[in-house]
Symmetry: C2
Subunit: 365 residues, 2 copies
Amino acid sequence: MPVADTTLPVLDLSQTSIDITRQLCDIESVSGNEGPITEAILVALAGAEHLEVLRDGDVVIARTNLGRDKRVVIAGHTDTVPLNDNLPTRYETEDGVEYLWGRGTVDMKSGVAVQLKLAVELTEPAVDITWLWYDHEEVSADLNGLKRLADNRPDLLQGDFAILGEPTRSEIEGGCNGNARIEVRTFGLRAHSARAWVGHNAIHDLSPILDTLAAYVPREVEVDGLVYREGLNAVGITGGVAGNVIPDAAMVHINYRFAPSRSGEEAIAHLRELFEGYDVTVVDLAEGARPGLDAPLAQDLLAAVGGEAKPKYGWTDVARFSALGMPAVNYGPGDPLKAHADDERVAVDQITACEQGLRAWLMTG
Amino acid sequence: MPVADTTLPVLDLSQTSIDITRQLCDIESVSGNEGPITEAILVALAGAEHLEVLRDGDVVIARTNLGRDKRVVIAGHTDTVPLNDNLPTRYETEDGVEYLWGRGTVDMKSGVAVQLKLAVELTEPAVDITWLWYDHEEVSADLNGLKRLADNRPDLLQGDFAILGEPTRSEIEGGCNGNARIEVRTFGLRAHSARAWVGHNAIHDLSPILDTLAAYVPREVEVDGLVYREGLNAVGITGGVAGNVIPDAAMVHINYRFAPSRSGEEAIAHLRELFEGYDVTVVDLAEGARPGLDAPLAQDLLAAVGGEAKPKYGWTDVARFSALGMPAVNYGPGDPLKAHADDERVAVDQITACEQGLRAWLMTG
């Protein structure tokens, strides 16, 4: 019998999902340092004989193979944004509500805790399940573990429906808006500002661009029964050479959040039309995801969870399932406004609610 | 007899003003390193018994005290902007015009060369003369040698008329525009750009400010017979936090060049009126200078030099004389558009013309 390596963090999945959240959070796993938490998950799953466990880098895949006619994929990321003196976790109570406070409690180790607990507990679910915990969600997309898997092993992601455990206050949030960023540039002619008429001021030429942005009324678009609110915003502006020089270049950096009824290509076409005649560079483009709430599995999930489905405004990895043709929703504990916040904390009853909702659906779905 | 210090640069004022320009330029004197050129000037003036020579830091003052009923002040700065592989000087000819090429040839060692030559040559001028060569003109005003003298020893600057040898193609340029810079700021409320409606976009609020700038028609104002052209320009613009954040602050940096008929206070009042309701910070303010061409000495100078007087658009140190109540004009060799340029060069016949114009005036003025 090998001697236990006491330097490895221990994860006890027989505890409550609240306590598992705490255990997971206290294993620091800022993006790039997911090794220890991945090892801990693998050790904790080792005894679960109903699961086929695979590892791909710092992605863990745990699958049931019960021959059910439906398969659902349930995923969560194990990394967090950097700490800011907010570990180790602690419990705190405010206005009669009990919270677990600390980095990762919302985004999204409480979701992962619920998933891990159910993964070992549910030996006979009504559907086959592919559990999936991945790395590098909080950083550049080219490092994202789910993206890597979607690119290299799309077969491992296949299923009839997907749930991503991002924070939604344990309510169903369908799909997500698409996300585009462009840079719109103007060009002039440099000159000494004492003789401005010799030059041409590129900053003054930004005026109609800002007018367009200030006057723009974002759409509210109903997609599969959910209303998505769009947004078009300058997120940066630059220009200028020196205090006595007419500037020959200026730029507005614009972010467009678009409803999932519009493709990325259509979104860019809309922006090019808005800023016709200007130099436009696309610097980022991510497709949205339709909510897919008309799928029968989604209807069952809604019934099991209760409440009303809402649209997800921020872009999330559900779009990666959407791109593979699978309906996908966000469902996890925690208030998304507390994600990344220094006072990140989750109301512990949301963790329990999520656990109960998922269990009810997976046992009867 | 002391042994000559061969490490000191030598200045031979018996040569032509063109050759003296070359000697001066080949003594590198980027702002802050005016020591060696100041020493060379002092040594070169040592034999001129008609001059009372004073030194104040790196300012050299050389005065005649002939009891004339008028005194004129003739000044030039000895520093240059940094080199860019444009020393030592060389002669070059293009389209039949002979040039002296190199840093300082225009701004403004050709003017200083003419002044130095005439300072030693004119032992019996028709007016008393205060010659003045000073340091740190090309950098922050608080280092400027002429400003220091105006603050500490205004008596040394007193006279009935002043000439500053800044480049004017050896034509009289009267006065100068005033110069103000302000920062106009907008403030909003930060939010995630996926939920823009929770925040308020400070960059969008810049829109009316740029509209005002783009639509502004600068005045052309006649002052003492010269027409000054004004200018109102954005010279910088900044704003933005990150690609997914609604920005809570933005700023336009604005430069206003105003005719010398308008005081600095009036200029700022005009700007505050234009941008009423916005947060306005004054970051720089320099009064303009009226051309003063109605002064009898100015009329004599115009007659001696010939040609037609023009307005000076850029702010120059003539405004310091103006502030002391003295009429003052710019008069020196070189094309101001070549000042600070990497291909800085002066047409040598302008040096000779300036020398002849100044000599004619000072002998008969």
